[in-house]
């Protein structure tokens, strides 16, 4: 055992050393040519030859000016890149497949020179944000819109700040180390059938829910004034007309009928696993939108049943972080099996659950 572990440790250490070395040797700036820059460089070489060949002194003058242009370009682009404080603002969470916006705030700490024409992008994403200008002592804002197709927690480590200022000849790039993360929830709009829970009665309830909006939300409690976000179907029109302001019916929560969605993570992290996550999130989202109390149980985390938008966010957050691995601990029933729905990537243990959703089979 020890003999096999030793080289592994050595290898780990070597890899770490290699990473550190790479980090140390990372150039402070990276430079690449634009098309115009390439042409200009070619022109400079050609003119150098021409000047040498003909001995034409005016060509030397022009050649020197072109080299000076490159110097000025280098200095100005450096001025644009340096002494900027970059802050990143990411949304609390985003949904897979939907556009999300990352905002960068660039504060210019230079005394006199503006920061002009910056492109900022995350090291792991392609989409860039463009900052037109940040004047001395001021802060400029740039936004990048990107669409992430996979749920998960994206660690953000490094922002690549680049500029082709001032002449568009070269692209100068520097790194700004700014750790952060981005939570991408799984999508919740997958078409999925209604879960069958609590035997026959639940099914009736489920079916009747589609007919009458009130059922499934518990006992009628009274009237209250309308708050943004209330279901328009709950508006009590007669009272609204009488009071001159919108009034809605309020129901008691039906605590007995919590829905537990159990996601089994004991599977390989593949397409089907992702589908299982989306099934689970879609089931939870629909149930919560319908006012039901929903809980989530995975092999690692249990989120107690609850209702409302906050509960959905907690569930989606947790689903975004769910990691599939075959050696995960066995999934335990969080509550009475009649309230539990199993969502799994592979049909394994199906007993005790009221309903089972298998990815790829629904």
């Amino acid at each position: 055992m020890s003999t096999s572990a030793a080289p592994a440790a050595w290898r780990v250490r070597a890899a770490r050393a290699w990473r550190t070395l790479k980090e140390l040797l990372r150039p402070p700036r990276r430079l690449s040519f634009t098309r115009a820059g390439g042409l200009l460089t070619g022109a400079i070489v050609a003119m150098g030859f021409a000047a040498l060949n003909t001995g034409n002194n005016l060509l030397y003058l022009v050649l020197g000016a072109l080299l000076g242009l490159i110097m000025v370009s280098g200095w100005l682009s450096e001025q644009s890149l340096r002494r900027n404080q970059v802050q990143r603002r990411v949304p609390r969470a985003a949904t897979a497949g939907e556009p999300l916006r990352i905002t960068y705030e660039v504060s210019n700490h230079k005394r006199r020179l503006p920061t002009l024409s910056l492109e900022l992008r995350e090291k792991r994403f392609e989409e860039a944000a463009y900052l037109q200008a940040a004047w001395p002592g001021k802060t400029g804002i740039a936004r990048a819109t990107l669409v992430l197709q996979k749920r998960g927690v994206y660690a953000l480590s490094r922002i690549l700040v680049s500029t082709s200022f001032p002449f568009g000849l070269f692209i100068k790039e520097r790194d700004v180390d700014l750790p952060g993360y981005l939570v991408v929830w799984p999508r919740t709009d997958r078409a999925v059938r209604r879960p069958r829970v609590g035997g026959e009665r639940a099914r009736q309830l489920g079916e009747s829910t589609a007919v009458a909006g009130g059922v499934g939300r518990g006992e009628y409690r009274g009237l209250r004034s309308f708050r943004p976000g209330d279901d328009p179907r709950d508006v009590h029109w007669r009272s609204t007309a009488r009071l001159g302001q919108p009034v809605v019916r309020e129901y008691e929560r039906e605590s007995n009928h919590s829905l537990w969605v159990c996601l089994d993570l004991r599977a390989a992290p593949d397409e089907r696993a992702e589908e299982a996550v989306e099934l689970a999130s879609s089931i939870c989202a629909r149930a919560i939108n319908e006012g039901q109390r929903v809980g989530l149980a995975t092999n690692e985390v249990v989120i107690d049943a609850g209702a409302g938008a906050g509960q959905l966010e907690r569930i989606l957050d947790s689903l975004a972080r769910a990691r599939f691995r075959p050696e995960a601990p066995v999934l335990a029933l969080p509550a009475d099996g009649a309230q539990c729905v199993l969502v799994t990537a592979s049909r394994t243990a199906t007993a005790d659950y009221a309903d089972v959703f298998v990815a790829g089979e629904t």
Partner: protein, 675 residues
Amino acid sequence: MNLRRLHHRLLAVMGLAAVVAFLSGAGLETPIILLTAVLLLIALFWQPSARTHEKLEWLFRIAAVLLTVRAIYYMVALPDDVVLPMVDVLLVLVASEALRPEEITAQTRLYSLSFALLIAASAYRAGVAFGLAFVVFLVTGTITLMIGHLLRQAAKHRMPEPVLERGFLIRVGLLSCVMLFMSALLFVAFPRVTRQWMGRGVPVTSSIIGFSDRVSLSEHGSRLYPNPEVVLRVEFPDVRPSDRSLYWRGRSYEVFDGVAWSRTGRLYRREPLSTFYAARWPKPAIEQRIYAAPIDVNVVFALSPVLELRRGSPAFRFDQTPSGDFFYTGSPAPTYGAVSLGEQPADADLRAFPAVYTPGDSVFLQLPRLSGRVYRLTDSLIAGHEQRIDQVRAVEDYLRTQFRYTLDLPATAAETGLEHFLFERRAGHCEYFSTAMVVLLRSAGIPARNVNGFLGGQWNEFGNFLTVTQNQAHSWVEVYFPRWGWVRFDPTPAATGDTAAAQNNWFGPFRFLVDGLEHRWNKWVLEYDLQKQVDVFRRTASAITPEPSARTSSEPAGARSWWIWAAAAFIVLFVIRALLSRTTDTVAALETRTYLNLRKAYRRAGYDPQPSLPPLAFVNRLEHMHAPGLTHARSVVLLYLERRFGNGDAAVETIRAEAELALRQLRARKRRQVV
């Protein structure tokens, strides 16, 4: 003014600068350049609408196609100067690009087109205007390129046009000084050694072939309106001679057909050698360094007689004809040194030897058909004079005193004849005087010839050199004296007031200034070569390292090069400052860095294996693991979050202090573990 319009106008200025640069070299060789200049001026203030532009574009396209066809024809059929036809195409393209509506952002073409024009200008021997246009091109070019880039980026990212402060634009414009400095530096320092690896060398000018025979009298010195075009600029390294005695001899003529002078190809006797003059004529010799402007004849002008001619550039080659004139090849504008004898033999010396002419060639006695009154006039003039010098002086005096100098030309063709000058008009310009004197002397059997060149010059205090212009074109006479060779005589009376005033008007000082600039431009830019380069480096080196002999002078050696040390100190300070500012470069806010450092420390200690863990989860983890410094670490994280995301106003110092405490406890735990 919005940025887009400013960009457009600056582009037009760039184009104009390139046009001026080209004009300074090639002049008005291509008339299209004037059209382009006008169109660029229009583009400064007006831009066509999209519709007008569409129509204009057609015109430009047709013109461009036609000119391209012409250029190809020139290239294939006439192996002549192909630069001009190509420049014509270029000019039409520049004009068409300048006259585009504002909306079109693809103006990058105009950058390269005007730049190409600038390069084309360098193919000619461009004057000092090139330098000025070059500076304007660089300054406007720097700003234009930057604005254009910002506009293109804004369009690419669908953003509104940026707003730039005027001060910033001016500062960017000033940055072009860096380019000028680089330009100057490279210009001075780039080694001028290897050249002509490929292609042809400097073409041999063709003027030499058609040179020897016949030159019309009116071609030289007959421009009677003031022409201030500079022909020679002369530096005197040793001593400056008086202006009056400076006869810049160009070429001589032997044959006069009654109207024009020409040269004969039948001369077999060589001019007396320079050693001949050096042995006989009075000293001292005058050294001249001559920068000649290109004129249409390849004549070497210098004071006469020339003892020695030195090449100013390796390409410069010269040759001497049997009649003693010098010609050059291989250089469009020659620079050369000459050592000449400044003074002529005195009349007494000339009188001491009998005037027996033995040239063995009657060409210097050749005469056109003359009427008897010419001979009678000669006889009356030389009557009573035995010595050749006295006869010559008599004729010279007669012309000087009895005739009047005028720039007015004879009214009709019938009045242009020599005899009309001698007997009716008795007034004319220098060519009439010299021709008359030669004819009169020859009719008396004295060998003489007509010589052209320049007389005198204007001293330029601004540059300490002598400027000789076309105004100073002159014609005089050389008479052969057996022991002395060819001696100069000038029968032309002094110019009257009005002629002299034309050359010294109020405009004079300004002209001197421009001429001084032009001279420096030619000397230090166009003629800059290996020799001058070595010279510059040697002078710089001697300024840096004081020579041992310099130590004996009154000031200490250190003081002489104090500025070197100042410059070195400045550079060192600059580098240190750059390094320091690099370390203080604030990438992330201080609180962020403090937080990140804290996490790094805990990660190294093994409490934080997951870098992607959010801040609060990190605190929870520390709590869970009973990490040392937990309370301080927690407050760091909370303060950090508050400050970064919650607009909290906790002092950064507090966060740092907390972090310091947390780290101290962490280190203390670590030490205990080790022990």
